[in-house]
């Protein structure tokens, strides 16, 4: 299973963290520090796997961002590498050629999307189309609620004029 997902920028800034195994706040900080040290220093032509404390971390760099997923030693590494790519493709489709800034200012969207792809550290949906549809449905629910709220406040505003 995937124990956690990390998005780290080349400068070592954390852009997203998702923990499927229980780690305390302290452990989380330590893990991030250790792994940034290991992964950000790796050269470009090396393999996408790092062995770490009895686990494996599968990572891939997209522009200035490193996507990392930590898995068990005998999990299938390539499968997870492509889960990363699957996630990136969906982000790309959602934001329209995604860049780091999108993920900074809309970090909450990245969480929504990730929740449609992984649960319990396992892949839940491998169809990009389905994920996009579900995320769009959520967005429209939020929009609808907002419009409703503003129309109510309009009514109140007019009534109290």
């Amino acid at each position: 299973m995937i124990h956690f997902v990390l998005l780290i920028s080349r400068q070592g800034k954390v852009r997203l963290t998702k923990w499927y195994s229980p780690y305390t706040q302290k452990e989380r900080t330590k893990v991030i520090r250790e792994l940034s040290g290991m992964i950000l220093t790796r050269g470009p032509k090396l393999c996408n796997f790092v062995e770490w404390r009895g686990y494996k971390v599968v990572y891939k760099r997209y522009a200035s961002l490193y996507f990392c997923m930590c898995i068990d030693q005998d999990d299938n590494e390539l499968e997870v590498l492509e889960i990363i790519h699957h996630f990136v493709e969906i982000l790309d489709r959602y934001f329209g050629s995604v860049c780091e800034l999108d993920l900074i200012f809309n970090f909450h969207k990245a969480y929504y999307i990730l929740d449609e792809i992984l649960i319990a550290g396992e892949l839940q949906e491998s169809s990009k189309k389905t994920v996009a549809r579900l995320v769009a449905a959520q967005d429209s629910l939020v929009e609808a609620a907002k419009e409703e709220a503003s129309s109510i406040s309009n009514i109140i505003a007019q009534a109290t004029k």
Partner: protein, 1021 residues
Amino acid sequence: MALSGMRGLSVFISDVRNCQNKEQERLRVDKELGNIRTRFKNEKGLTPYEKKKYVWKMLYIYMLGYDVDFGHMEAVSLISAPKYPEKQVGYIVTSCLLNENHDFLRLAINTVRNDIIGRNETFQCLALTLVGNIGGRDFAESLAPDVQKLLISSSCRPLVRKKAALCLLRLYRKNPDVVNVDGWSDRMAQLLDERDMGVLTSCMSLLVALVSNNHDAYWSCLPKCVKTLERLARNQDVPQEYTYYGIPSPWLQVKTMRALQYFPAVEDPNTRRSLFEVLQRILMGTDVVKNVNKNNASHAVLFEALALVMHLDAEKEMMSQCVALLGKFIAVREPNIRYLGLENMTRMLMVTDVQDIIKRHQAQIITSLKDPDISIRRRALDLLYGMCDVSNAKDIVEELLQYLSSADFAMREELSLKAAILAEKFAPDLSWYVDVILQLIDKAGDFVSDDIWFRVVQFVTNNEDLQPYAALKAREYLDKPAIHETMVKVSAYILGEYSHLLARRPGCSPKEIFIVIHEKLPTVSTSTIPILLSTYAKILMHTQPPDQDLQRQIWAIFSKYESCIDAEIQQRAVEYHALSMKGAALMDILAEMPKFPERQSLLIKKAEDSEADTAEQSAIKLRTQQQTSNALVLTDQRPANGTPQVNQLGLVKVPTMSNADPSTAEQGLTHANGALTIVDPQPPSTTSPDLLGDLLGTLAIEGPPGPVTAPQSDPRVASGLEGGVDALAIATVEDQTNAVQPIGDIAERFHALCLKDSGVLYEDPHIQIGIKADWRAHQGRVVLFLGNKNLGALSSVQALILSPSHLKIELSLVPDIIPPRAQVQCPLEIINLHPSRDSAVLDFSYNFGTQLVNVKLRLPAVLNKFLQPIPISAEEFFPQWRSLSGPPLKLQEVVRGVRPMLLAEMANLFNSLNLMVCPGLDPNANNLVVSTTFYSENTRAMLCLIRIETDPADRTQLRMTIASGDPTLTFELKEFVKEQLISIPITSRVATPPMAPQGQPLSPPTALLSSDPGAMLAGLL
């Protein structure tokens, strides 16, 4: 894309980004946290929008790495908001900020449950996602039935059901009891007929978790998995949106094949055939293409297929096909594939028959050891380690040594440990082994643990032929300008013992040796100085005729250290100084160290332990474990020697008269750190040396287990026991008129085996008999491993079992001839009929050339093997204890002459005999209460209770009460326990020492004749 409507959040993020440095960022963040805190305090005034905004800010700050120790409540409370936008934020932020052990989560269980069982599909999704991601045991117990209902409901849409499947998986991981196997296995099989691929993917993950724990219940899923795999591999009926770069859901393919690996075999021939067809198609049809993602996805499937083929034990042809593929992979340029090729080749080693094909790739694997990528280097090292055997050990170890000097820091320790283990396991000759270890210390001294150099000292001590060579090598290393401290230790030790063997060589006179060692003294730490002092004392002793000048120098050093602050150094200095003035007596005291008792190599044990630690219940690893257990037996066959206690190496050895049990004397000595008092030997007794020796063996590594040598304080006992030999040892030794002398002490080996289930029963220059036992209730299965150590065959091999009346023993056929360097296994089936302390004897004989060797060996099928420890509570104990009243079911005896030991040691002793000490039952802290179950065919399982009352003022006596439901059992157990506790003095008889004095050629014969070490000590003082 702008953040719709949440300006405050965007502004805050921009502010943080615009901070010039970390300090500014902290200020900005602190300001914001203060702001949020005040806003949360007067919660009344917060609109839902504001609450959302602040909770998001909190998450952002948390992600930046700052502690956010408030506001969790606000995040959790949003979960119960009525509207979707707030609820959504509440769920997401909660699942990011908290982990499953957080108290606040418990508060939310009810709300979450209401959302799960409610009618609103979107709320269901949010709740299932939260539980799936951070649900703990509490959630598992209260929500599992609801989640199961959603998963199998026909009215739920796929988006809910796939989440429910993974949510259930999480709950199952937290508490496997929440899935009721009986009811669920059919449901699981139905779920595999699912048409929606998203749901099917999630269900397959769930199945993997379920079958990994209990494959038996899910047999009906096996054919469905094969069907699914077939459908995917042939791309039949797979919707376009579920193909990934042209490959029908690679993830589902991988998961399906993973699930199949948990079933032990595919029995139905049709299913098996179609499965192999699919696998063959995957193996042959996967090509390397340009597109990275397509390549990765297809190879993810391919590697999983390889694992499945290995698991299924396919025909040899298919296996060789796999090895060929892997051979191709480890040579490609793509680093991921190279990495995985090496990793899977290591797994492939578990498959018999293919090792030889793998060996053909050795050169390529060695190249990977120099790969720029540490991940790949690690894999290559593991593979080389795994594929090493006698045939290629020399090449591989030398390659590792060469690589050691350039290897990165992170790998050196592992590398040197692995090289040491391989060198020991597969050394073609011992001098090569010494070379390797010395090189290892020379190149990577910092990474060579003490165990490694202890081990080489043992080998040298136990192999006379090796001693001059090792001494010469050690001498050579000392000429190097800067050597590692470990090298100083090992060379000083070896030269102290054996430098006299080099005396005629240039540069090897005692004086020269002394000078070259003494040069190192200023550079070493306090832990090394005691070893150097011992070396000096030994050199002095070996200088014949005495060299006045050298003597003066060494005495000066001793007197200098007599006031050293370190107690160990001081003691040695004082003692050696005093001893060396005694002239001739020095010879005896400083005689050569005796051979070490045979024990399993600590290094190899360590390696096995670490393998066992990481082993989980996966199919591959189960197999690994089986392999290592075989390896254990094989390594037993090697001249494996004992756990060295070199951290307390006193080079002093007692001239015991009987010399029957040198290791006992040596143990007694080393524990007391070579102090003078130790010349008083441990009273030899029936049981103590072995039992204690074994207990200590495990402890000695940690530190000196001081109190055990307590008997020394009682010289009366010691002198009364002079020349005493192990009473039981006589029984076996006396009959043996063989020309061939056993290696190691037979009685000691027997006693060690009484406490453990595998080890060496007997060894002589021609044969080693190892034993491995498995005890289940009143039955036992013992395998004898007869290993021929010679290059010639052993003929007329015969084994007879002389079994006492209470044991039924069946020995399978023993072959007449054991071929050179071969090992044969002879299983024994043992049934315990009724309680008795007698033991069975193995009458073993063989011919080597013209020599006939016959030995009678007691088999460690003793009473305590049929005991199983059982914990007992006060509520169970007292009624039982009362109901068994008085003789013959309950016997009491005051035992005197008990070997003095601390209560904790006694408790350890009992526990090691499968007699379980139950603390807390007896209010008196000086008493022990012990419970165990005895098994025999007559008595069946029989509970036995023991109470030991000790007297802290007099440790040599105690009162023992034993109760069980069978009179014979009570009596036999009482006698058995008594034997373990007391030291029986035995009138001496001159036994043939199993270890003839050849071990100490330089000791004058007078030493062996002087009858009373105690008296001699008195003379010295």
